[in-house]
Assembly symmetry: C2
Homo-oligomer: 77 residues x 2
């Protein structure tokens, strides 16, 4: 089974959600991508359908937007 990807931008709500998601899914099942610092992956996230962060991209390609933290426009600045 392929991994989920958790996209976040370092905001407090992102970090809190990250800890919950990693605990629930297990650290081996989710990659964490900080698109605030790794900006080269912003376009990848947008293509996957990420509208806000934090968001979880599931292995089947669905995007679960979790607690609204920051819009992609805010991340891009």
């Amino acid at each position: 089974m392929s991994k989920s990807i958790f996209y976040h931008a370092g905001c407090p709500v992102c970090v809190s959600a990250e800890q919950d998601i990693v605990k629930l899914l297990g650290p081996e099942k989710v990659d964490i991508v900080h698109i605030g610092s790794d900006r080269s992956r912003i376009s990848e996230a947008e293509k996957a359908g990420v509208k806000s962060v934090p968001a979880l991209l599931t292995p089947n390609g669905n995007v679960l937007h979790i607690n609204f933290g920051a819009s992609m426009a805010d991340v891009k600045g």
Copy 2:
């Protein structure tokens, strides 16, 4: 480890998120509560901090609000 609780109200986005969450966490780790039909559990959800559905209440008491579907006000009607 205690279970997570997934609160939803039967909307399409809820059902889609439910399937993703059950697949990711495993069906044995999450209880599904339909607060649109089981209205006696609305107050329980609100006390737990649920502001909109679908939402996932984690075993440590955090609420992860997933894709905004319906506000609690809408569920109560």
